[in-house]
């Protein structure tokens, strides 16, 4: 009997190759391709008066220089706005090369192609640009003040304003026995994958066909964009995603200017052209995320039950809005987490600033929403002097309430309906895992040693497996090897491993005989992309369905060949036999031969197949309802997202003298339905927690008033080293299967990073005894906060918060 691989800790087949330096990234392909560099704006806001490229034209080794004036047709129009929304009344996108104006430091102005990157950078340095400086808008406060505008035709710097209401939150709050207000800030970080953006392209004039290799999270998206912008048919463009050194969201935005300019130059020059982004460019010309200012008003009863929640927030989306409102919409809807306020109002303004654009970064607006909600829960608990887990439990959606309809519209434009979950069970698990009930004793013991510790908890629900669809193609070769293609891309998640697990289970073939291809439009031209924790749910389900079709066909042919009933057959180790008998058998490879009436006996397998006879003499060789080949193809398109959930808890120690923050224990419970590969899920959690530690305690984008990014390098942008990440992360799983897909799975890619800001703020607040309302937080900032609060001894039990006036006093 073949062992079932679903649920097994199968080692990642990718790792040997990737860890030994045998990965093949865009920069490794097409040796000898011409290289390019981009002249980027050194100013945050300026009008371009004149560009002089004369000095570049005679440079030896330089093949082409492009400015906006050289762009024609669709390339001369602003880049596409990928996800429009009715509320995005003032959406703006940049040009592939700046036209007349630049709006952030790093915006592309000119594109140079040369023999190598050294010469291209030398040439960039020789281009002269006359600027007329405009006053920059930096930071949410300045954007809101709107004394200066990023775009002349966008009043108030407001790109969008969106409000959603369930019930009447203001009235419910006004009538509530208790009310609190919170003002919170969360700053910018970024995906910062190991490999930045990269694209290489070649034009084949004989076939009039363009090939593009891009380090992207969506090869089909890039293909459509390149075809449209360069005036080619889709059928003339192949986009192939090679190994990608991490994406974390930034590579779902497309097309980047370079993704269009590289193919444009490749066609014009008739030679392969490459762009490989360097680290400084990645900081100033890709995308950031997270920055929001939030104002929360909440009304609740004596038990801490939410009666009304009114959230207003301001989202900094940078200089342009190519990715629409996805991030703030997710914040505004996923903020609710596992809770059910009876009345909810949320309104946000998405604001322009003269900074790098903001597009989804792992978590994609959820970390901000969880931060708002969980800080509120902690504030209620502090106000009522109740245990923080008790307040949360009081507000949980209960296991028997699924599917639970929040009566809101989610990021995909569909109703926000949770499919499944068990939040009380998660809470019990996290309390046990972190030692919640024993913590006060631990605090006392540590205090006796002069040490200061704090405990924090944060809960989240994550919509995963967002549609619209993914597809898969499964082909069984005559060798018995199985070739599988799905269109979304891989950035190191372990798709080759988990997808092969799914196929092996369905086909009963050997795991080692399965090859998975992702992100190649030649193999699967219909696909969406890898984002929103959707690969396992979407492509996993599609692969399962396609493999099932291939299995059905294999068994149909086998039943014919073995003169048996298909229902009596089984496949073990790639061999089909009649269950419980020792009679004749037939291999999947032989069935593949039999599936194709064109049967030249090239090999032993084909010769072996001649002993079997299939099909009926009275029918055509390929029956009307059949196709040659042993293949299965299918698509999975769910009616809505499936909602994973989880809780994190952390114990921190804060140094009384230096304000350094140390992680003593980090615990995660996670529910992503059935686990295909627990080791890979845990790896996703480890990586997410590491990024979360970065976002909460180390990373931020430091812009000065003039819009210069002051820390555009890994020396000053403090991504945590392994020494800053907890040595161990305690993980426990809960499996409430999703009813929405055949495998009962939910996404797991982003969860590890979602509650970080909330959970660290809670733990530090618990250790220090004063509210933490701005994240991330550094030792220097904690030191300054201590001085402001003049804390001699921590008074962790009580968090001072201003209670608003009571309803009685409010009324005239």
């Amino acid at each position: 009997m073949t062992t079932k691989l679903f649920g097994a800790k199968v080692p990642r087949v990718e790792d040997d190759r990737l860890l030994r330096g045998n990965g093949r990234y865009a920069d490794d392909l097409m040796p000898g391709a011409l290289e390019s560099a981009v002249l980027r704006s050194p100013h945050a806001h300026a009008r371009i008066v004149h560009i002089d490229v004369d000095a570049v034209l005679d440079c030896e080794g330089v093949h082409a220089v492009y400015t906006y004036e050289d762009l024609t047709g669709p390339m001369a129009a602003p880049l596409p706005l990928l996800i429009p929304h009715p509320a995005l009344t003032h959406g703006r996108t940049q040009y592939a090369l700046a036209k007349d104006e630049v709006n952030y430091v790093g915006e592309a102005i000119a594109f140079v192609v040369a023999d190598d990157r050294y010469l291209a950078e030398d040439a960039i340095g020789k281009i002269k640009v006359d600027y007329e400086f405009l006053p920059p808008v930096v930071g949410i406060d300045n954007a809101r003040k709107a004394e200066r505008l990023v775009h002349d035709d966008v009043p108030g710097n407001i790109g969008a304003r969106l409000e959603q209401n369930v019930g009447d939150a203001p009235a419910a709050i006004a009538a509530a026995p208790h009310r609190l207000e919170l003002d919170l800030v969360i700053e910018r970080s970024a995906s910062t994958p190991m490999e930045g953006r990269a694209v290489v392209s070649r034009w084949d004039p004989d076939q009039a066909r363009l090939q593009v290799w891009s380090s992207t999270q969506t090869s089909t998206g890039v293909r459509a964009a390149v075809a449209a912008q360069l005036g080619l048919d889709l059928g003339q463009v192949d986009v192939i995603t090679p190994d990608v050194g991490g994406g974390f969201g930034v590579k779902i935005n497309h097309p980047w200017p370079e993704e269009l300019l590289v193919p444009l130059a490749a066609i014009a020059l008739g030679r392969p052209v490459r762009f490989t982004e360097d680290r400084r460019e990645h900081f100033i010309s890709s995308a950031h995320e997270r920055q929001q200012v939030q104002h929360i008003e909440v009304g609740f009863d004596d038990d801490g039950r939410l009666l009304g929640l009114d959230v207003e927030f301001w989202h900094d989306h940078g200089a342009y809005t190519p990715y629409g409102l996805i991030v703030p919409i997710i914040t505004s809807t996923q903020l609710l987490g596992p809770y059910k306020p009876d009345n909810y109002r949320v309104v946000f303004e998405s604001l322009y600033t003269n900074t790098v654009i903001v597009t989804p970064y792992r978590g994609a607006g959820r970390p901000q929403g969880v931060y708002a909600m969980e800080r509120t829960m902690d504030a209620i608990a502090a106000y009522l002097k109740k245990d923080r887990t008790e307040i949360r439990a009081t507000n949980f959606i209960q296991p028997d309430e699924f599917p639970y309809d929040h009566q809101l519209v989610f990021q995909d434009g569909r109703p926000l309906v949770y499919d499944s979950g068990d939040y009380p069970a998660l809470l019990e698990k996290i309390k046990a895992l972190v030692g919640w009930d024993e913590f006060e004793q631990f605090r006392t013991e540590m205090a006796a040693e002069g040490r200061r510790v704090g405990l924090g908890l944060a809960c989240y629900v994550e919509g995963t497996g967002v549609g619209p669809y993914e597809g898969a193609h499964v082909q069984i070769e005559t060798s018995g090897n199985v070739k599988v293609a799905t269109g979304l891309t891989s950035q190191g998640q372990g798709h080759q491993t988990v997808f092969a697990q799914l196929v092996a289970d369905v086909l009963g073939c050997s795991f080692e005989d399965i090859e998975i291809v992702t992100g190649d439009t030649r193999r699967m031209p219909y696909a969406v992309g890898t984002f929103a924790s959707r690969a396992a749910v979407m492509s996993g389900s599609a692969i399962h369905l396609a493999a099932t079709r291939a299995r059905e066909k294999a068994l149909r042919i086998a039943a014919d060949a073995l003169e048996a009933d298909a229902a009596d057959l089984e496949i073990v180790d790639g061999i089909v036999s009649v269950k419980g008998t020792t009679g004749p058998t037939i291999s999947l490879g032989t069935l593949a031969v039999l599936s194709n009436p064109l049967r030249y006996a090239f090999d032993e397998v084909s010769k072996a197949a001649t002993q079997f006879s299939v099909g009926r003499p009275e029918k055509p060789p390929v029956a009307e309802d059949d196709e040659p080949g042993l293949e299965g193809r299918d698509f999975y398109s769910p009616e809505r997202s499936t909602f994973a959930s989880g809780m994190h808890a952390v114990i921190v120690e804060t140094d009384p003298d230096t304000a350094e923050i140390k992680i003593l224990k980090y615990a995660v419970v996670h529910d992503c339905g059935h686990l295909i590969n627990p080791m890979i899920v845990e790896g996703q959690i480890h990586g997410g927690v590491a990024q979360g530690v970065g976002g909460a305690l180390y990373e931020r984008m430091v812009y000065d008033e003039s819009g210069q990014l002051l820390n555009a390098s890994f020396m000053d942008f403090l991504m945590p080293y392994v020494t800053e990440v907890p040595e161990s992360i305690d993980i426990d799983h809960l499996e409430t299967p999703s009813p929405l897909n055949p495998l009962g799975i939910k996404g797991a890619g982003e969860a590890g990073v979602i509650p970080s800001a909330a959970v660290f703020a809670a733990a530090i607040e618990d250790a220090e005894g004063f509210p933490i309302t701005t994240m991330p937080i550094s030792p220097s900032e904690l030191f300054e906060l201590r001085r402001r609060h003049s804390v001699v001894e921590p008074t962790h039990a009580v968090v001072e918060l201003v209670e608003t006036t009571t309803p009685e006093e409010d009324s005239p």
Binding site: E121, L718, P720, T723, S778, S780, E784
Partner: protein
Amino acid sequence: MKPAPFSYRRPGTLQLALESLAGEPDAKVLAGGQSLIPLLSMRLAAPSMLIDINALPDLDHVTTAADGVRVGALARHAAVLADQDAVRVQPLLAKALANVAHSTIRNRGTSVGSLVHADAAAELPVVLRLLGGSLDVASTRGRRTIAAEDLYVGLLETSLRHDEIAVEAFFPALALGEGVAFDEVARRHGDYAMCGVAALVQVDGDRVVRARAGYLSVSEVPTVIELTDAFSVAVDEESLAAAGEMALAGLDPQTDIHASADYRAQLVRVLTARVLRSAYDDARGRMLARVER
């Protein structure tokens, strides 16, 4: 992030290297390259020529004698750190070098290169200053020795002349009755410190004969402060706190994106107390060990 054009020499003798340097006013000397190469790649520096001294013979030595440790211009941090004799004769070397970046950088970066790069956030310039060491430099005009106290003249600036190559540093041995300690607080393990302190304390019995400390990242140049007066009575919380205040009077902590000036001042206080206490204990421990032997 590719350097601007430069010419490149890799001379086989010191004399040739010195001649190249003398003839090229905009040349830079390349040893470990751990600071210079990033500066070139970010085009923050654009020398006309790089003179790579890695092929020069006899410069990678770490020589230990009773009076101290001599470190050649091509000795890597890792080699100094791994040299048992060197770190026995001057234990501060090991304590400080363990805080120099990460092992990959220590494998390549040179200790002498760090000294002449003169970054006030670096560990070794402070160590050389604190110990009262010196640097031997050579030019076509001959060789001279620069005392550590005369070496650092400004922000990232030494008293080396353009045509001079640093060939050897001298770190004096720990003297009888002396103890040392080092500590720093960085945002991440191996980063440039927000503040770091190296201390040298000499005792006679329980009494402090001399105490001084060198400071990283809280002044424009590596700075050493005499703190002996703080410990005229005893080494206790009060005197250690007083030493911190005394040190602050001679330092100039600044605000940057990682730490406020006030926070850095706090680190000066905390680390001064910790490191002076630790150096005092080290000195007393060494005396006791000596008596026991």
